[in-house]
Amino acid sequence: MQAARKYGQAFLVGLQSNIIYRWNFAVRSFFSLFQLAIVFILWGAVFAGSPQVGGFTFGQTLTYFIVLLALQFFIGAFNEDYQISEEIRNGLINQFLLKPINYYLYRLSIFASARVVSGGIVLVPLLCLLPFARHTLSLPHEGWRFALAVPAAGLAAMIQFTIAYCFGLLTFWFLEIQGFVILSMAVEAVLGGQMFPLDLLPKGFFTVAQFTPFYYQMYFPAAILTGRIDHGLALRGLAIQVGWVGVLLLGAYGFWRRGLRRHTAVGG
Protein backbone atom coordinates (compact mmCIF):
# COMPACT_ATOMS: atom_id res chain seq x y z
CA MET A 1 0.00 0.00 0.00
CA GLN A 2 2.84 2.32 0.94
CA ALA A 3 4.66 1.35 -2.27
CA ALA A 4 1.53 2.05 -4.32
CA ARG A 5 1.33 5.53 -2.72
CA LYS A 6 5.00 6.15 -3.40
CA TYR A 7 4.86 5.25 -7.10
CA GLY A 8 1.42 6.87 -7.35
CA GLN A 9 3.10 10.14 -6.35
CA ALA A 10 5.81 9.57 -8.96
CA PHE A 11 3.01 9.02 -11.51
CA LEU A 12 1.36 12.32 -10.52
CA VAL A 13 4.65 14.24 -10.71
CA GLY A 14 5.24 12.64 -14.12
CA LEU A 15 1.76 13.65 -15.22
CA GLN A 16 2.43 17.27 -14.30
CA SER A 17 5.80 17.40 -16.01
CA ASN A 18 4.43 15.71 -19.14
CA ILE A 19 1.53 18.13 -19.34
CA ILE A 20 4.16 20.87 -19.66
CA TYR A 21 5.25 19.15 -22.88
CA ARG A 22 1.68 18.77 -24.22
CA TRP A 23 2.45 20.89 -27.27
CA ASN A 24 5.32 18.59 -28.20
CA PHE A 25 2.99 15.61 -28.03
CA ALA A 26 0.36 17.59 -29.95
CA VAL A 27 2.85 18.44 -32.73
CA ARG A 28 3.93 14.82 -32.82
CA SER A 29 0.38 13.49 -32.99
CA PHE A 30 -0.45 16.05 -35.70
CA PHE A 31 2.47 14.80 -37.80
CA SER A 32 1.33 11.22 -37.17
CA LEU A 33 -1.66 12.06 -39.33
CA PHE A 34 0.82 12.62 -42.16
CA GLN A 35 2.18 9.15 -41.43
CA LEU A 36 -1.35 7.84 -41.85
CA ALA A 37 -1.69 9.82 -45.08
CA ILE A 38 1.44 8.07 -46.42
CA VAL A 39 -0.02 4.70 -45.42
CA PHE A 40 -3.32 5.58 -47.10
CA ILE A 41 -1.65 6.75 -50.31
CA LEU A 42 0.95 3.98 -50.58
CA TRP A 43 -1.31 1.07 -49.66
CA GLY A 44 -4.17 2.59 -51.64
CA ALA A 45 -1.91 2.40 -54.71
CA VAL A 46 -0.88 -1.18 -53.83
CA PHE A 47 -4.52 -2.26 -53.48
CA ALA A 48 -5.53 -0.45 -56.68
CA GLY A 49 -4.33 -3.47 -58.66
CA SER A 50 -5.92 -6.16 -56.49
CA PRO A 51 -8.84 -6.23 -54.02
CA GLN A 52 -6.83 -8.28 -51.49
CA VAL A 53 -3.17 -8.33 -50.49
CA GLY A 54 -2.01 -11.18 -48.26
CA GLY A 55 -5.66 -12.17 -47.72
CA PHE A 56 -6.69 -8.75 -46.33
CA THR A 57 -8.65 -5.88 -47.86
CA PHE A 58 -7.55 -2.25 -48.03
CA GLY A 59 -9.97 -1.38 -45.21
CA GLN A 60 -8.46 -4.05 -42.94
CA THR A 61 -4.93 -2.88 -43.72
CA LEU A 62 -5.78 0.77 -43.09
CA THR A 63 -7.49 -0.18 -39.81
CA TYR A 64 -4.33 -2.05 -38.79
CA PHE A 65 -2.18 1.05 -39.31
CA ILE A 66 -4.63 3.34 -37.49
CA VAL A 67 -4.73 0.98 -34.49
CA LEU A 68 -0.93 0.83 -34.62
CA LEU A 69 -0.73 4.62 -34.52
CA ALA A 70 -3.07 4.81 -31.51
CA LEU A 71 -1.05 2.09 -29.75
CA GLN A 72 2.19 3.97 -30.35
CA PHE A 73 0.87 6.91 -28.34
CA PHE A 74 -0.69 4.76 -25.62
CA ILE A 75 2.00 2.13 -25.05
CA GLY A 76 5.09 3.05 -27.10
CA ALA A 77 8.38 4.12 -25.54
CA PHE A 78 9.20 7.60 -26.86
CA ASN A 79 12.42 8.89 -25.35
CA GLU A 80 12.59 7.03 -22.03
CA ASP A 81 15.97 5.53 -22.99
CA TYR A 82 17.35 8.99 -23.62
CA GLN A 83 15.97 10.33 -20.31
CA ILE A 84 17.49 7.44 -18.34
CA SER A 85 20.77 7.88 -20.16
CA GLU A 86 20.82 11.59 -19.27
CA GLU A 87 20.11 10.83 -15.58
CA ILE A 88 23.03 8.42 -15.46
CA ARG A 89 25.38 10.69 -17.37
CA ASN A 90 24.55 13.79 -15.32
CA GLY A 91 24.71 11.94 -12.01
CA LEU A 92 21.03 12.59 -11.26
CA ILE A 93 20.65 8.88 -10.70
CA ASN A 94 22.69 9.18 -7.48
CA GLN A 95 19.68 10.47 -5.57
CA PHE A 96 17.80 7.23 -6.29
CA LEU A 97 20.62 5.14 -4.86
CA LEU A 98 20.19 6.82 -1.48
CA LYS A 99 16.40 6.62 -1.28
CA PRO A 100 14.05 3.68 -0.66
CA ILE A 101 12.80 3.78 -4.24
CA ASN A 102 13.14 1.24 -7.02
CA TYR A 103 14.50 3.05 -10.06
CA TYR A 104 12.75 0.72 -12.55
CA LEU A 105 9.34 1.21 -10.90
CA TYR A 106 9.94 4.95 -10.62
CA ARG A 107 10.73 5.21 -14.34
CA LEU A 108 7.80 2.91 -15.14
CA SER A 109 5.46 5.27 -13.26
CA ILE A 110 6.82 8.25 -15.21
CA PHE A 111 6.44 6.25 -18.46
CA ALA A 112 2.80 5.44 -17.58
CA SER A 113 2.01 9.09 -16.88
CA ALA A 114 3.64 10.18 -20.15
CA ARG A 115 1.53 7.67 -22.08
CA VAL A 116 -1.65 8.90 -20.40
CA VAL A 117 -0.85 12.41 -21.69
CA SER A 118 0.30 11.35 -25.18
CA GLY A 119 -2.57 8.85 -25.51
CA GLY A 120 -5.11 11.50 -24.53
CA ILE A 121 -3.65 13.95 -27.03
CA VAL A 122 -3.60 11.53 -29.99
CA LEU A 123 -7.30 10.86 -29.48
CA VAL A 124 -8.06 14.39 -30.71
CA PRO A 125 -6.71 13.99 -34.28
CA LEU A 126 -7.99 10.40 -34.42
CA LEU A 127 -11.51 11.48 -33.50
CA CYS A 128 -11.29 14.24 -36.12
CA LEU A 129 -10.26 11.61 -38.66
CA LEU A 130 -13.05 9.20 -37.75
CA PRO A 131 -15.91 10.79 -39.77
CA PHE A 132 -13.79 10.60 -42.95
CA ALA A 133 -12.44 7.09 -42.42
CA ARG A 134 -15.39 5.31 -40.81
CA HIS A 135 -16.61 3.75 -44.06
CA THR A 136 -13.15 2.36 -44.80
CA LEU A 137 -12.35 1.06 -41.30
CA SER A 138 -12.99 -2.60 -40.64
CA LEU A 139 -12.80 -3.75 -37.00
CA PRO A 140 -13.92 -7.29 -36.12
CA HIS A 141 -16.69 -7.58 -33.52
CA GLU A 142 -15.68 -10.71 -31.53
CA GLY A 143 -15.63 -9.85 -27.82
CA TRP A 144 -12.63 -12.05 -27.05
CA ARG A 145 -10.43 -9.81 -29.21
CA PHE A 146 -11.00 -6.82 -26.92
CA ALA A 147 -10.62 -9.04 -23.81
CA LEU A 148 -7.22 -10.32 -25.02
CA ALA A 149 -6.06 -7.06 -26.60
CA VAL A 150 -6.04 -5.27 -23.23
CA PRO A 151 -3.51 -7.57 -21.50
CA ALA A 152 -1.58 -7.87 -24.78
CA ALA A 153 -1.30 -4.07 -24.96
CA GLY A 154 -0.29 -3.87 -21.28
CA LEU A 155 2.43 -6.48 -21.75
CA ALA A 156 3.52 -4.79 -24.97
CA ALA A 157 3.96 -1.55 -22.99
CA MET A 158 6.10 -3.46 -20.47
CA ILE A 159 8.25 -4.87 -23.29
CA GLN A 160 8.63 -1.46 -24.91
CA PHE A 161 9.52 0.25 -21.67
CA THR A 162 11.90 -2.47 -20.46
CA ILE A 163 13.80 -2.50 -23.76
CA ALA A 164 14.08 1.32 -23.57
CA TYR A 165 15.18 1.01 -19.92
CA CYS A 166 17.92 -1.48 -20.85
CA PHE A 167 19.13 0.78 -23.64
CA GLY A 168 19.20 3.69 -21.19
CA LEU A 169 21.30 1.62 -18.77
CA LEU A 170 23.89 1.05 -21.52
CA THR A 171 25.14 4.51 -20.51
CA PHE A 172 26.94 2.76 -17.64
CA TRP A 173 29.22 1.30 -20.31
CA PHE A 174 28.99 3.74 -23.25
CA LEU A 175 29.12 7.53 -23.35
CA GLU A 176 26.70 7.74 -26.25
CA ILE A 177 23.75 5.36 -26.66
CA GLN A 178 21.78 7.07 -29.39
CA GLY A 179 23.33 4.92 -32.11
CA PHE A 180 22.15 1.75 -30.36
CA VAL A 181 18.69 3.22 -29.81
CA ILE A 182 18.18 4.19 -33.44
CA LEU A 183 19.61 0.86 -34.61
CA SER A 184 17.05 -0.87 -32.42
CA MET A 185 14.32 1.42 -33.78
CA ALA A 186 15.08 0.19 -37.30
CA VAL A 187 14.75 -3.43 -36.17
CA GLU A 188 11.58 -2.61 -34.23
CA ALA A 189 10.09 -0.79 -37.25
CA VAL A 190 10.37 -3.97 -39.30
CA LEU A 191 9.81 -6.73 -36.74
CA GLY A 192 7.25 -4.67 -34.81
CA GLY A 193 5.11 -4.43 -37.94
CA GLN A 194 5.33 -0.65 -38.22
CA MET A 195 6.50 -0.64 -41.85
CA PHE A 196 4.08 -3.32 -43.07
CA PRO A 197 1.84 -5.93 -41.43
CA LEU A 198 4.19 -8.78 -40.54
CA ASP A 199 1.87 -11.38 -42.07
CA LEU A 200 2.90 -10.05 -45.49
CA LEU A 201 6.39 -11.45 -44.91
CA PRO A 202 7.21 -14.85 -46.44
CA LYS A 203 5.89 -17.59 -44.12
CA GLY A 204 9.33 -18.65 -42.82
CA PHE A 205 10.32 -15.10 -41.84
CA PHE A 206 6.91 -14.52 -40.25
CA THR A 207 7.30 -17.65 -38.11
CA VAL A 208 10.77 -16.57 -36.95
CA ALA A 209 9.47 -13.04 -36.18
CA GLN A 210 6.89 -14.53 -33.80
CA PHE A 211 9.66 -15.63 -31.47
CA THR A 212 11.29 -12.21 -31.16
CA PRO A 213 10.21 -9.65 -28.52
CA PHE A 214 9.70 -7.03 -31.24
CA TYR A 215 6.68 -8.94 -32.62
CA TYR A 216 4.96 -8.40 -29.25
CA GLN A 217 5.75 -4.68 -29.04
CA MET A 218 3.14 -3.46 -31.52
CA TYR A 219 2.12 -5.98 -34.13
CA PHE A 220 0.67 -8.50 -31.68
CA PRO A 221 -1.91 -6.30 -29.88
CA ALA A 222 -2.76 -4.57 -33.17
CA ALA A 223 -3.19 -7.93 -34.93
CA ILE A 224 -5.54 -9.19 -32.18
CA LEU A 225 -7.68 -6.06 -32.41
CA THR A 226 -7.83 -5.95 -36.20
CA GLY A 227 -8.52 -9.63 -36.83
CA ARG A 228 -5.17 -10.59 -38.32
CA ILE A 229 -4.67 -13.53 -35.93
CA ASP A 230 -7.12 -16.12 -34.61
CA HIS A 231 -7.99 -17.09 -31.03
CA GLY A 232 -5.45 -19.94 -30.75
CA LEU A 233 -2.56 -17.82 -32.04
CA ALA A 234 -3.58 -14.97 -29.74
CA LEU A 235 -3.51 -17.20 -26.64
CA ARG A 236 -0.17 -18.77 -27.62
CA GLY A 237 1.16 -15.28 -28.33
CA LEU A 238 0.09 -14.04 -24.89
CA ALA A 239 2.03 -16.90 -23.26
CA ILE A 240 5.16 -16.06 -25.29
CA GLN A 241 4.67 -12.37 -24.51
CA VAL A 242 4.59 -13.08 -20.77
CA GLY A 243 7.80 -15.10 -21.25
CA TRP A 244 9.47 -12.16 -22.99
CA VAL A 245 8.42 -9.73 -20.26
CA GLY A 246 10.04 -12.10 -17.72
CA VAL A 247 13.26 -12.40 -19.74
CA LEU A 248 13.47 -8.64 -20.25
CA LEU A 249 12.82 -7.90 -16.56
CA LEU A 250 15.63 -10.29 -15.64
CA GLY A 251 17.85 -8.62 -18.23
CA ALA A 252 17.00 -5.17 -16.86
CA TYR A 253 17.78 -6.31 -13.31
CA GLY A 254 21.09 -7.78 -14.46
CA PHE A 255 22.03 -4.62 -16.37
CA TRP A 256 21.18 -2.48 -13.32
CA ARG A 257 23.25 -4.60 -10.92
CA ARG A 258 26.27 -4.83 -13.19
CA GLY A 259 25.97 -1.21 -14.30
CA LEU A 260 25.94 0.07 -10.72
CA ARG A 261 29.23 -1.73 -10.10
CA ARG A 262 30.80 0.47 -12.78
CA HIS A 263 29.05 3.63 -11.64
CA THR A 264 30.98 6.30 -9.78
CA ALA A 265 28.85 8.74 -7.83
CA VAL A 266 30.40 12.12 -7.14
CA GLY A 267 28.50 14.58 -4.95
CA GLY A 268 24.79 14.04 -4.27
Binding site: N24, F34, I41, L42, V46, G49, G179, L200
Partner: protein
Amino acid sequence: MNYFQIWLAGARYSLVRTMMFRGDFFIWSLVELFWMSVNLLLIAVIYAHTSSVAGWNAYEMTLLVGTGMLVQRLLMGFFWSNLFEMGRNIRSGAFDFFLAQPGHPLFMASTRKLDPDGLLNSVLALAVVIYAAHHLGLHPTAGSILMYGGLILAGLAIHYSILVLTMSLTFWLSSAQGIEGSYFTLADFGRLPREALRGIARVAFVWVVPMVVVSNGPARTLLHGFQPKWTLWLLAAAALWVFAAITTFNAGLRRYASASS
Protein backbone atom coordinates in the same frame (compact mmCIF):
# COMPACT_ATOMS: atom_id res chain seq x y z
CA MET B 1 37.92 34.38 -43.16
CA ASN B 2 35.26 33.42 -45.71
CA TYR B 3 32.45 30.89 -45.17
CA PHE B 4 34.13 28.16 -47.21
CA GLN B 5 37.25 28.34 -45.05
CA ILE B 6 35.12 28.16 -41.89
CA TRP B 7 33.28 25.14 -43.28
CA LEU B 8 36.58 23.50 -44.26
CA ALA B 9 37.92 23.95 -40.72
CA GLY B 10 34.76 22.33 -39.32
CA ALA B 11 35.01 19.45 -41.79
CA ARG B 12 38.65 18.83 -40.84
CA TYR B 13 37.73 18.83 -37.15
CA SER B 14 34.87 16.38 -37.81
CA LEU B 15 37.12 13.95 -39.65
CA VAL B 16 39.70 14.03 -36.86
CA ARG B 17 36.92 13.49 -34.32
CA THR B 18 35.58 10.54 -36.31
CA MET B 19 39.02 8.96 -36.30
CA MET B 20 39.06 9.32 -32.50
CA PHE B 21 35.64 7.68 -32.06
CA ARG B 22 35.85 4.88 -34.63
CA GLY B 23 33.32 2.72 -32.73
CA ASP B 24 30.75 5.50 -32.97
CA PHE B 25 31.43 5.88 -36.68
CA PHE B 26 30.86 2.15 -37.15
CA ILE B 27 27.60 2.12 -35.16
CA TRP B 28 26.17 5.16 -36.96
CA SER B 29 27.14 3.78 -40.37
CA LEU B 30 25.28 0.62 -39.39
CA VAL B 31 22.27 2.63 -38.19
CA GLU B 32 21.90 4.41 -41.51
CA LEU B 33 22.52 1.22 -43.46
CA PHE B 34 19.76 -0.49 -41.46
CA TRP B 35 17.28 2.29 -42.18
CA MET B 36 18.06 2.14 -45.89
CA SER B 37 17.58 -1.63 -45.78
CA VAL B 38 14.22 -1.16 -44.05
CA ASN B 39 13.03 0.98 -46.98
CA LEU B 40 14.27 -1.53 -49.53
CA LEU B 41 12.63 -4.35 -47.56
CA LEU B 42 9.32 -2.48 -47.73
CA ILE B 43 9.61 -2.39 -51.53
CA ALA B 44 10.49 -6.11 -51.61
CA VAL B 45 7.48 -7.01 -49.44
CA ILE B 46 5.05 -4.86 -51.44
CA TYR B 47 6.22 -6.15 -54.81
CA ALA B 48 6.01 -9.74 -53.56
CA HIS B 49 2.23 -9.13 -53.59
CA THR B 50 1.82 -6.88 -56.64
CA SER B 51 3.68 -6.11 -59.87
CA SER B 52 2.97 -2.39 -60.09
CA VAL B 53 2.32 0.50 -57.71
CA ALA B 54 0.79 3.57 -59.38
CA GLY B 55 2.35 2.43 -62.65
CA TRP B 56 5.86 2.03 -61.22
CA ASN B 57 7.53 -1.38 -61.36
CA ALA B 58 9.84 -2.72 -58.64
CA TYR B 59 13.08 -1.34 -60.10
CA GLU B 60 11.57 2.05 -60.92
CA MET B 61 10.35 2.20 -57.33
CA THR B 62 13.82 1.19 -56.11
CA LEU B 63 15.30 4.04 -58.16
CA LEU B 64 12.75 6.46 -56.69
CA VAL B 65 13.35 5.34 -53.11
CA GLY B 66 17.14 5.27 -53.70
CA THR B 67 16.95 8.89 -54.91
CA GLY B 68 14.97 9.90 -51.84
CA MET B 69 17.52 8.12 -49.62
CA LEU B 70 20.40 9.85 -51.41
CA VAL B 71 18.99 13.29 -50.58
CA GLN B 72 18.30 12.24 -47.00
CA ARG B 73 21.76 10.69 -46.47
CA LEU B 74 23.40 13.87 -47.78
CA LEU B 75 21.32 15.81 -45.28
CA MET B 76 22.42 13.41 -42.54
CA GLY B 77 26.06 13.77 -43.55
CA PHE B 78 26.19 17.55 -43.84
CA PHE B 79 23.55 18.94 -41.51
CA TRP B 80 21.58 16.50 -39.34
CA SER B 81 23.53 16.38 -36.08
CA ASN B 82 24.13 20.14 -36.21
CA LEU B 83 20.43 20.92 -36.54
CA PHE B 84 19.45 18.18 -34.08
CA GLU B 85 21.74 19.76 -31.49
CA MET B 86 20.54 23.23 -32.40
CA GLY B 87 17.15 22.51 -30.81
CA ARG B 88 18.76 21.35 -27.59
CA ASN B 89 21.24 24.23 -27.57
CA ILE B 90 18.46 26.78 -27.92
CA ARG B 91 16.68 25.18 -24.96
CA SER B 92 19.76 25.01 -22.76
CA GLY B 93 21.21 28.38 -23.72
CA ALA B 94 24.32 26.78 -25.25
CA PHE B 95 23.28 28.43 -28.51
CA ASP B 96 25.13 31.54 -27.22
CA PHE B 97 28.29 29.83 -28.45
CA PHE B 98 27.18 30.24 -32.09
CA LEU B 99 26.20 33.87 -31.66
CA ALA B 100 29.77 34.73 -30.75
CA GLN B 101 31.21 33.15 -33.90
CA PRO B 102 32.36 34.98 -37.05
CA GLY B 103 29.39 34.27 -39.34
CA HIS B 104 25.62 34.12 -39.58
CA PRO B 105 24.35 32.01 -36.62
CA LEU B 106 22.37 29.71 -38.93
CA PHE B 107 25.44 28.95 -41.02
CA MET B 108 27.61 28.45 -37.95
CA ALA B 109 25.04 26.22 -36.23
CA SER B 110 24.27 24.16 -39.37
CA THR B 111 27.75 23.42 -40.57
CA ARG B 112 29.86 22.98 -37.46
CA LYS B 113 30.13 19.21 -37.87
CA LEU B 114 30.17 16.70 -40.71
CA ASP B 115 28.97 13.13 -40.22
CA PRO B 116 31.16 10.88 -42.38
CA ASP B 117 28.79 7.95 -41.71
CA GLY B 118 25.95 9.79 -43.46
CA LEU B 119 28.26 10.64 -46.36
CA LEU B 120 29.39 7.01 -46.57
CA ASN B 121 25.79 5.89 -46.74
CA SER B 122 25.00 8.45 -49.43
CA VAL B 123 27.49 6.51 -51.56
CA LEU B 124 25.49 3.36 -50.80
CA ALA B 125 22.23 5.14 -51.69
CA LEU B 126 23.84 6.15 -54.97
CA ALA B 127 24.78 2.50 -55.47
CA VAL B 128 21.08 1.58 -55.01
CA VAL B 129 20.17 4.12 -57.73
CA ILE B 130 22.85 2.75 -60.08
CA TYR B 131 21.73 -0.83 -59.36
CA ALA B 132 18.10 0.03 -60.20
CA ALA B 133 19.14 1.99 -63.31
CA HIS B 134 21.21 -0.99 -64.48
CA HIS B 135 18.24 -3.37 -64.08
CA LEU B 136 16.02 -0.94 -65.95
CA GLY B 137 18.55 -0.84 -68.82
CA LEU B 138 18.94 2.94 -68.54
CA HIS B 139 21.79 4.71 -70.34
CA PRO B 140 21.43 8.34 -69.23
CA THR B 141 23.37 11.02 -71.11
CA ALA B 142 26.00 13.14 -69.36
CA GLY B 143 23.46 15.98 -69.43
CA SER B 144 20.85 13.86 -67.64
CA ILE B 145 23.37 12.84 -65.00
CA LEU B 146 24.40 16.46 -64.44
CA MET B 147 20.76 17.47 -64.25
CA TYR B 148 20.11 14.63 -61.80
CA GLY B 149 22.96 15.91 -59.59
CA GLY B 150 21.64 19.48 -59.75
CA LEU B 151 18.13 18.38 -58.78
CA ILE B 152 19.51 16.32 -55.89
CA LEU B 153 21.20 19.48 -54.58
CA ALA B 154 17.93 21.43 -54.94
CA GLY B 155 16.17 18.62 -53.04
CA LEU B 156 18.85 18.80 -50.35
CA ALA B 157 18.18 22.53 -49.98
CA ILE B 158 14.44 21.80 -49.51
CA HIS B 159 15.08 19.08 -46.90
CA TYR B 160 17.55 21.33 -45.08
CA SER B 161 15.05 24.20 -45.03
CA ILE B 162 12.23 22.03 -43.70
CA LEU B 163 14.50 20.71 -40.95
CA VAL B 164 15.60 24.26 -40.03
CA LEU B 165 11.95 25.34 -39.91
CA THR B 166 11.08 22.36 -37.69
CA MET B 167 13.98 22.90 -35.29
CA SER B 168 13.32 26.66 -35.22
CA LEU B 169 10.03 25.84 -33.48
CA THR B 170 12.21 25.38 -30.39
CA PHE B 171 12.42 29.16 -30.14
CA TRP B 172 8.70 29.08 -29.38
CA LEU B 173 8.20 25.64 -27.74
CA SER B 174 9.43 24.60 -24.30
CA SER B 175 11.30 21.55 -25.60
CA ALA B 176 12.50 20.18 -28.93
CA GLN B 177 12.43 16.54 -27.86
CA GLY B 178 10.60 14.48 -30.47
CA ILE B 179 10.05 17.46 -32.79
CA GLU B 180 12.73 16.22 -35.18
CA GLY B 181 10.53 13.16 -35.83
CA SER B 182 8.18 15.50 -37.71
CA TYR B 183 10.84 16.02 -40.35
CA PHE B 184 11.17 12.26 -40.89
CA THR B 185 7.40 11.98 -41.30
CA LEU B 186 7.43 14.60 -44.04
CA ALA B 187 10.53 13.06 -45.64
CA ASP B 188 8.68 9.74 -45.94
CA PHE B 189 6.51 11.31 -48.64
CA GLY B 190 9.59 11.08 -50.85
CA ARG B 191 8.97 7.32 -51.08
CA LEU B 192 5.73 7.87 -52.98
CA PRO B 193 5.37 8.07 -56.76
CA ARG B 194 3.56 11.24 -57.77
CA GLU B 195 0.85 9.23 -59.59
CA ALA B 196 -0.21 7.68 -56.25
CA LEU B 197 -1.26 11.07 -54.87
CA ARG B 198 -4.68 12.46 -55.70
CA GLY B 199 -6.73 15.54 -54.86
CA ILE B 200 -5.65 17.55 -51.84
CA ALA B 201 -2.70 15.23 -51.10
CA ARG B 202 -1.27 16.00 -54.53
CA VAL B 203 -1.65 19.75 -53.99
CA ALA B 204 -0.14 19.52 -50.49
CA PHE B 205 2.86 17.25 -51.10
CA VAL B 206 3.68 17.95 -54.72
CA TRP B 207 3.11 21.68 -54.83
CA VAL B 208 3.02 23.12 -51.28
CA VAL B 209 5.50 20.91 -49.35
CA PRO B 210 7.35 19.46 -52.31
CA MET B 211 8.70 16.28 -50.68
CA VAL B 212 7.33 14.18 -53.52
CA VAL B 213 9.01 16.39 -56.13
CA VAL B 214 12.38 16.09 -54.33
CA SER B 215 12.57 12.38 -55.15
CA ASN B 216 10.30 12.17 -58.21
CA GLY B 217 11.98 15.06 -60.07
CA PRO B 218 15.51 13.60 -60.23
CA ALA B 219 14.21 10.01 -60.64
CA ARG B 220 12.09 11.04 -63.63
CA THR B 221 15.08 12.83 -65.15
CA LEU B 222 17.00 9.55 -65.09
CA LEU B 223 14.02 7.51 -66.31
CA HIS B 224 12.66 9.83 -69.00
CA GLY B 225 15.31 12.55 -69.61
CA PHE B 226 15.00 16.31 -68.98
CA GLN B 227 11.61 17.27 -67.50
CA PRO B 228 11.24 21.08 -67.74
CA LYS B 229 8.14 21.32 -65.51
CA TRP B 230 9.65 19.24 -62.72
CA THR B 231 13.03 20.95 -62.95
CA LEU B 232 11.59 24.46 -62.80
CA TRP B 233 9.31 23.64 -59.90
CA LEU B 234 12.05 21.94 -57.91
CA LEU B 235 14.41 24.90 -58.34
CA ALA B 236 11.69 27.46 -57.52
CA ALA B 237 10.55 25.43 -54.49
CA ALA B 238 14.16 25.21 -53.24
CA ALA B 239 14.52 29.01 -53.42
CA LEU B 240 11.16 29.55 -51.66
CA TRP B 241 11.87 27.09 -48.86
CA VAL B 242 15.38 28.41 -48.19
CA PHE B 243 13.89 31.89 -47.92
CA ALA B 244 11.15 30.68 -45.54
CA ALA B 245 13.67 28.80 -43.37
CA ILE B 246 16.03 31.79 -43.03
CA THR B 247 13.14 34.16 -42.30
CA THR B 248 11.67 31.87 -39.62
CA PHE B 249 15.07 31.23 -38.05
CA ASN B 250 15.78 34.97 -37.88
CA ALA B 251 12.34 35.61 -36.33
CA GLY B 252 13.03 32.90 -33.76
CA LEU B 253 16.48 34.29 -33.04
CA ARG B 254 14.90 37.58 -32.03
CA ARG B 255 12.95 35.66 -29.33
CA TYR B 256 16.07 33.91 -28.06
CA ALA B 257 16.91 35.03 -24.54
CA SER B 258 20.01 32.96 -23.84
CA ALA B 259 19.85 30.41 -20.97
CA SER B 260 16.48 31.63 -19.81
CA SER B 261 14.73 31.14 -23.18
